[in-house]
Symmetry: C2
Subunit: 315 residues, 2 copies
């Protein structure tokens, strides 16, 4: 197992992860966990892929609004649409994550799931991260893909539990992470079932169904999975509730918190990032037995060098 996690630097975090997996998979171990209970939940934005200076959800909304504004020019003059269209980050940051995401979700109302999927795939194909210059779905973290692969090899069921819109994540998660659509939990809007003759579709509405952040994360884990995770990975205060929920279960548990402290290879931010602050979780990590992973110290590489689809096929 020493070849595993090769993009992780030798150090306490890597050692702890490898020890944990060894302990819970060894049949003779007192900490052995049966495969059906090997549930791992990962936040997505900032944990599995880049979320700075804003989540892909925000750039996706901006891209959609550009198309919508062509049909309705008045849109460009009204806030908060104006801020999105002009990539006015200060105003968007001040909205906070929930308001910014809710605005984003309204730009998808009135389309079927299938129509949304096509648009989401087009977004990944044609847009680029504003400073990193690469498609958003390629800006996934190589060390995390290695960790996901290692968990899959060890019969873990991995889930994404994200504040991002579930359908946007589903449009790339299977290719990027090897996590199938039914293992993606995210924020969601209500839908309307429309049927006529042989046609029957789910139409996306503007109304929020669940904003999957903070205490909604354990609530949605209860609803969708029905088992406490034994391993949780997050990067913000929005992930603290699901970490505490996992840690409170009986038996071996592990919670990991990624700290974005690498301004050279990625970005350095925590408390001041209004779209997803990391403050309380960092302060209380020791109290709650949460392992802090430093991007700068613990990761040899940050981004997947190739398209994750190719990496997977090669592996």
């Amino acid at each position: 197992m020493s070849d595993a996690l090769s993009s992780w630097r030798d150090g306490p975090a890597r050692t702890e992860i490898l020890d944990f997996i060894a302990r819970i998979t060894r049949r003779s171990s007192p900490d052995y966990v049966a495969p059906e209970a090997r549930i791992a939940t990962f936040d997505n934005d900032g944990t599995l892929w880049c979320e700075y200076p804003a989540q892909a959800q925000v750039f996706f909304a901006q891209w959609r609004l550009k198309a919508l504004a062509e049909k309705d020019p008045g849109l460009a003059a009204r806030q908060p649409f104006k801020a999105f269209l002009e990539r006015d980050m200060k105003t968007i940051h001040e909205l906070g994550k929930k308001a910014a995401f809710e605005l984003a979700f309204t730009t998808h109302a009135g389309m079927t799931e299938e129509a949304f999927e096509e648009i989401a795939r087009a977004f990944f194909a044609v847009t680029r991260h504003p400073t990193l210059g690469r498609p958003f779905n390629v800006l996934v973290y190589r060390p995390q893909i290695e960790l996901l692969n290692l968990l899959h090899e060890n019969e873990f069921k991995t889930f994404i539990v994200s504040g991002g819109g579930v359908d946007l994540i589903r449009a790339f998660a299977e290719d990027a992470y090897g996590i199938p659509r039914e293992r993606v939990i995210g924020s969601s809007v209500k839908t309307r079932f429309e049927s006529q003759g042989a046609a029957a579709d789910l139409m996306k509405l503007a109304e929020l169904n669940s904003f999957d952040d903070r205490e909604a994360k354990p609530q949605n884990i209860g609803l969708h999975i029905g088992r406490r995770p034994i391993l949780v990975f997050g990067n913000s205060d929005g992930d603290l509730a699901m970490m505490r929920y996992a840690k409170a279960g009986r038996g071996p548990r592990m919670a990991l918190l990624l700290h974005h402290d690498d301004g050279e290879r990625e970005f350095a931010y925590d408390r001041e990032f209004k779209l997803s602050p990391l403050s309380e979780a960092l302060d209380k990590a020791a109290d709650f037995g949460i392992t802090v992973v430093s991007m700068k110290r613990d990761w040899k590489a940050v981004f997947a060098e190739e398209s994750p689809l190719k990496m997977q096929a090669a592996g």
Copy 2:
């Protein structure tokens, strides 16, 4: 494959199922479906196990109310609690499924998921079906377990999509059907996340989150699975929307409707069963390309003879 489905009589339904599976799994077939898209959804009450003269959910509520009435004797005098406590089926039937189930859900309010799970397991251990005299979790249909096993052998992901409470189903589905907890979708109540120090729990509330019947079934499939099923099995009008949703997708699709027409081995009921009527779906089966399965004609055996857990271990 001719040894498969041995509790199914030779006939159009069995042949159609076997042909469908062969067609979508043969790589050279124009109807080939990749394993990740082999999604099958099954209703539970009346499709995988007995639901007559009322769903286990109703008997579970009755059993819980008996315990609650010992602490609050006034309960026994108030409707609809009185009807449950006296097993007054006429009154319970007149409530209809949604009201009866909502009442049932309120009897679980104020407990954690884990406390609920223990109570549900006790219910299965100590109660019996009123006329069949066996534990509810043993009254599962042998032909359906064979079908689930066959689908699993053919890399299908099977899901339960039920109007029953998700946590009650999760308490037995993995043992009975080989369907893991995270593949159970059902009606659900809201929960509250409560944390203090190292403790962190989900507390069940009395308020309904989703009543998973009729159009809510495709809506919840969209939310939880994010893919249209290619095979759906149901037994009532409450399953028609998810059948139409599945059939409306491109490529090969199959929808099956179990008709309870076997008063000798089980029960004969359809239009008049107020807790879950079968009427519109039966009348329009041909229009929507739904295959009607007759319990009397198509099934050699009805119930699993042994505990399903033993069957699975033996198989």
